[in-house]
Symmetry: C2
């Protein structure tokens, strides 16, 4: 499928939008963050959600950009909390400038997300758009807090993990589709259906991220493979492995989780070997599949323009099969 027209429209809007100018310390990091790129999945979802119910997706461009700015606000603050040095192979804002600037620039980005949404929404949709955006923003923060809690929590169950990624990642994809549908004049039921499609796709999307972090092709992945393993990140893969492993395999896994000094390469290799032994790759692929399947099925059932549905479906396929 050809995403170029959507991408170009989103980039063109971002290009001409001015967040502010003075003080420079506040606005430069915003421009920097937004310029790091990324796949712009969320604005594309707004536009594709719009197209399911109406032509002229161009009308939804400003609203779609609001979702991208919000997403980048969460990344800027998450990077502080995770003490991440890099984002898309560039220094994170709190590393390039400092934490205070990353906090405050992030705050302004959240305000700007509201402002851009405000500009992009007709009066008749304004209250609903603002309400649903705020609800979604709250969920995303809740997801980030759960994620932080899990770092120090001894046991995380699979349902707990899935709920965390639903909040932290999936609800925003759900909101993107819902917003697009809303602005195209879809009714509440249709909006809600599209929102849930986005949520299921979003959970599948994050699980795919977890999978690629271990099984990605290093040449295509773009990031270091094995980062989650090195950091003992409680992803679906690790939680499932901990639940399935027995005897020597369990001992081996626990050893690598508790070891303080180690060769990263060796740890990644050893834990991946445990995963292989336990069939974690296939289990993860099945779970990813089941979430995307739910999304595809619900989409197929919807009464809407077939070619627009087809477009969204190919986008979902692309997301599901992506290698980075």
């Amino acid at each position: 499928m050809n995403l170029k027209p959507y991408l170009q429209a989103v980039e063109a809007y971002l290009e001409k939008y001015t967040y502010g100018t003075n003080p420079n310390e506040l606005y430069e990091p915003i421009g920097y963050m937004m310029s790091l790129g990324g796949k712009r999945l969320r604005p594309i979802l707004v536009l594709l959600g719009y197209e399911v119910f109406s032509e002229n997706w161009q009308k939804a461009i400003p609203a779609s950009v609001a979702v991208e700015v919000f997403h980048n606000f969460t990344l800027m603050h998450d990077d502080i909390m995770d003490k991440a040095p890099l984002r898309r192979n560039h220094a994170t804002v709190h590393t390039k400038w400092n934490e205070n600037i990353a906090i405050l620039s992030g705050d302004v980005m959240l305000v700007k997300a509201y402002e851009i949404l405000l500009q992009g929404v007709e009066d008749r949709f304004l209250r609903a758009a603002m309400q649903k955006f705020s609800r979604c923003a709250t969920w995303v923060c809740e997801g980030q807090q759960w994620d932080m809690n899990f770092e120090t929590q001894n046991e995380v169950s699979i349902p707990e993990y899935l709920e965390m990624i639903r909040l932290k990642t999936a609800v925003l994809l759900g909101f993107a589709l819902e917003l697009g549908a809303m602005l195209a004049g879809a009714n509440e039921t249709e909006q809600e259906k599209l929102r849930l499609i986005g949520e299921n796709m979003g959970v599948g999307f994050q699980l795919k991220d977890d999978l690629l972090d271990v099984y990605g092709n290093p040449e295509k992945f773009g990031k270091q493979v094995g980062g989650d393993i090195i950091a003992n990140k409680k992803t679906y893969l690790l939680i499932e492995a901990l639940q399935t492993a027995q005897d020597d395999t369990k001992t081996e896994l626990l050893k690598w989780l508790s070891v303080k000094t180690f060769s990263p390469q060796e740890k990644v290799k050893a834990v991946t070997k445990v995963y292989n032994l336990l069939g974690i790759k296939e289990k993860t692929e099945n779970l990813i599949d089941s979430f995307f399947r739910k999304a595809f099925d619900s989409l197929a059932e919807m009464q809407a323009d077939e070619s627009a549905k087809e477009k969204l479906a190919s986008f979902m396929t692309w997301l599901m099969e992506r290698e980075n």
Copy 2:
């Protein structure tokens, strides 16, 4: 004047409002922050602004609370940036919990401020209220960034300082009055007049804060007197003193600004002595007076209910003459 009815209404709304419940780590800090109290000046200003143009200020209560929640969001994030251990004699959120929690709870508070405002505003005012709130929120962040910049900037001029406190503090008082006026049905011109009254009052209010930090009665002030002097905070008092001082007085002042180890008490005493010599107290009082005077004059000129104007005027008098 009797502020009790306003205060009780605001507290009652805050009491029954639930920000959220789960995860507790996210929401407990919000409840904690809001329970630390404060004077609730900003919601009161919304209600008094409303009353200038209409009765039934009760209708503006939710909107007034949104402004208070926003204000407390800025305090939570500012406290991280300033590394402040205490807020209203209690541990700050980042001290009691940690920085990450203070960042994220603050983020949710900003979202909740929008959400509460949304609930408190009729459709016909929604876009304008959201737009003006966002504009004000951006200004407040800009003010905080200037404030941080000034910490490491060698020279800060008096106009620069006044512009910083206008953004950081005064515009929110302006927005509070403007919002009240808007919701009471005042026209754009009247709203703008009230906003500027709030801004002038707000600059006077912050200058009074600076004055009290040096000249407050320790028994009434509630905070340690001299905190700004100890921290070399570039307030109006210091900037004016640096501009006025000559010869030995200048040498004495610069000595205290550069000294690394010192008795705080001794420094406060010595710098205050310099201020006294230069008549800084009187100069500050005159400047405070001039800002409040502008506010009083504009209010007097407004075509509105005289008794409601009188109420707002007494509130301003109380703000101007307060001792803590």
